[in-house]
Symmetry: C2
Subunit: 349 residues, 2 copies
Amino acid sequence: MANRKDVAKLAGVSEATVSRVLNGIGPMKESTRQRVMAAAKQLNYELNAIAANFARGRSGNLGVVLPTLPKVHLFSTHYFSEILGGIGEAVRAKGYGLLLLFRDPEEVFDYVSLFRTQRVDACIVLGASALPTEREAMERLAGENLPICVMDQRFEGLNICSVATNHEQGSYEAVKHLIHNGYRRIGFINGSLQYSNSTDRLAGYSKAIQEAGIPYDASIVYQGNYSRTSGRRVANSVYEDLHKLDALFVANDRMAIGLIQGLREKGVQLPEQLAIVGFDDSDAASMTEPQLTTVKVPFYEMGRQATERLLTRISTSEHENEQPPFHEILDTQLIIRKSCGTVKDQLTQ
Amino acid sequence: MANRKDVAKLAGVSEATVSRVLNGIGPMKESTRQRVMAAAKQLNYELNAIAANFARGRSGNLGVVLPTLPKVHLFSTHYFSEILGGIGEAVRAKGYGLLLLFRDPEEVFDYVSLFRTQRVDACIVLGASALPTEREAMERLAGENLPICVMDQRFEGLNICSVATNHEQGSYEAVKHLIHNGYRRIGFINGSLQYSNSTDRLAGYSKAIQEAGIPYDASIVYQGNYSRTSGRRVANSVYEDLHKLDALFVANDRMAIGLIQGLREKGVQLPEQLAIVGFDDSDAASMTEPQLTTVKVPFYEMGRQATERLLTRISTSEHENEQPPFHEILDTQLIIRKSCGTVKDQLTQ
């Protein structure tokens, strides 16, 4: 019986091209496709992707495990859409499919059987939190040395690949910028503390005010949940506290935008009465009035790098188990617009 | 040898639950998972998902084929992110995986082999255009009666399942609203005509002005490419043509937002000097100054419905080939904000 090598030889292409054509992994020149199909037909050779993948223990898919968040249009948030964009670019370049799977954060997700059953060859975990169920799922993984990468969430003491951004440093620089420009009474709106990047942002905020000799005031540290609605809700408390606030650092742009909309409706002059700095540098940050000063996070690049590192890992070595986990930390960048009430050349640092 | 039924019986759960546990398709109660795993172990039964899927000719995945668009962060556009959100919700509810595959619009994508090689059980095509390569890919499909649904793009004469929105009607109502409010010199910024929804919007615009006895003036019909940058670029031409324009209908919100930003930078008073209506009702529409009047498109719902109909189709019948293709057309809704210079109770219709 003819094999893939025979088909490649007859069609005058590489074996990889034969696989891609027969597995429907695009893109592919139409003339090449037809040549391969003709050769396969002539040799009575038809590769069934699942059978072939089963035989070699590969699915041809990178898995991405996403949380199920009630009422949130996941793909419409800057965070998930940009990371997925970067993952998509890298996956496409390597001819892989991108298999999205949803987990319920209340349940312990079984990553191991995802591999055991060969649905994916490697896997990226997005939006993981420090909930006990998620911690337990990760603990089960840690011993297995599977090609899994956790994005933007730290699990202390567990040795799993990760790609993250420096939330503490980014927050520290944002708050320091406000201090350098004369603000002293600086509040903070954080997201849920079940995410390590929320605690990191709090650490960055605390470090900056502490260095400047400003005491930590819990009454101007507010709690949102990273949604625009929660920013609008917090606007009510902020409005009542305006007498004790000069500036606010907000843990993501969505909440900052909700806050701005809520305060503008109450007639608050921005940035004159309150300076605001967001976090993310989403598209919308340049659409608000005033435009939002914010901390740019390289989400797209994080997705791309995590994917490339994972796919390189599984393709270059049959012994991925022997490689130590990788840990990447990418830098943020402060983007100065109008909402912080300062302009670039006032920067004194 | 024990089979799935035996495991289900011993664990006291359904066979479907056994499959879901062993295939790692979450969510699943931890206690249930452990009971199934214990039963499978006791009976020496381990299902390999790929082998099992191969045997029954199912992958457990819904495929979504996306275009490769240079420089566009696909998942960060309202259009793709909302449709994918709706697809994701339906896929998750049915315990399927969502396999994203990228096609190069210049190449003829081989949908048929995607099924033949059992990578997907059903497939949704997003962002298809009327390019000859895409038309050819669809023609190859049409004869096969595969469970494929094309989203929001019409292929005249081909009998393939589709879910779309009524772009012509939505555009007609938007322009009619402007006419009812006294505007006569109404321009139009369209996207690329390679998409059938662009030609539909042009038809809706033309119908509305024609009914009002307003002659079609090609010099105030502008061409963008659905990006914010293209809206900014068109702002230059619009600025020069301000003397012959009262209002502009813009084929999507992104271009409208770029236009607004470009015109505001030139000091144009909006909506006083120019009324603007967008299309989509993206998140950003309520963030601009003035807030954007726009045509709401139920993208999320379109994705959900297409997925549910496809998955029901393949699960209820072994003879899906015998079912005629479905065609859904969902309605749009005019959302009146500030940018059109009118308020709701001025509506005279």
